[in-house]
């Protein structure tokens, strides 16, 4: 399940709903990760662009990989502006036993940071500034730059 929202995530609502939807499905472990915008470097918040067609494919391939281990992954992300101390990202893995979910949530979030087609901007004085230094080129980047 992939959920995209305009602006900040309603963390209690999402976690309560995800927990409720799987509570009777015999998963012994539910491991959520909640990402919160921190007050740092004078920002007023963060802002996000998402390219949904590729994000949906990326997520679907992960769901297939996770299900092969008898587990389930859910993810929610914000589009647009998110204020300080609000949440922009939630991921969660359900599995029968804890070790599978702990391993998968780590791998999922790391690959999310490296591969998901989402762009982050710092909000300062109402303007968006691309977080270039904190961004990661997707694997295989530079293909079109190889031509002289």
């Amino acid at each position: 399940m992939l959920e995209l929202y305009d602006n900040a995530l309603d963390v209690p609502e999402i976690l309560r709903r995800w927990y409720g939807s799987e509570a009777q499905n015999n998963y012994g472990a539910f491991i959520p990760f909640v990402g919160t915008v921190r007050d740092e470097a004078g920002i007023e918040g963060l802002s996000f662009d998402i390219y949904e067609p590729i994000l949906e494919r990326w997520f679907a391939s992960w769901q297939t990989r996770v299900k092969a281990q008898g587990a389930l992954v859910k993810m929610a992300h914000a589009k647009g502006d998110v204020g300080i101390h609000e949440s922009s990202y939630i991921a969660a893995v359900f599995s029968a036993k804890r070790r599978v979910a702990l391993t998968l949530i780590d791998a999922f979030v790391e690959d999310f940071k490296a591969s998901a087609p989402i762009w982050k901007y710092d909000l300062k004085q109402g303007e968006r500034y691309y977080a270039k230094e904190r961004s990661t080129p997707i694997e295989g980047s530079g293909l079109l730059g190889a031509v002289e």
Binding site: I54, A131, S135, L144
Partner: protein, 73 residues
């Protein structure tokens, strides 16, 4: 004609061009001063699938997307 889309922070409108492979697209974009600096760090997708070869063939109507470095979460 193929359509080139520039995603995220690349502040450039989509454009259309004649191209039969990504090699053609690479050559055309490398002469565009506005976009040239992005080429070294962008991933490329054809019809929303990431590709890894300049020999990737293109057909009329294909959508090519340039994806600059990402930072979700």
């Amino acid at each position: 004609m193929v359509r080139i889309e520039f995603l995220g922070p690349i502040a450039k409108e989509s454009l259309e061009m004649e191209a039969t492979s990504l090699q053609d697209v690479a050559e055309a974009l490398s002469s565009d001063e506005e976009i040239k600096a992005w080429l070294q760090t962008c991933a490329v997708a054809v019809n929303d699938t990431l590709v890894s070869s300049l020999d990737t063939p293109l057909r009329s109507g294909d959508k090519i997307s340039l994806l600059p470095p990402v930072c979700g979460g």
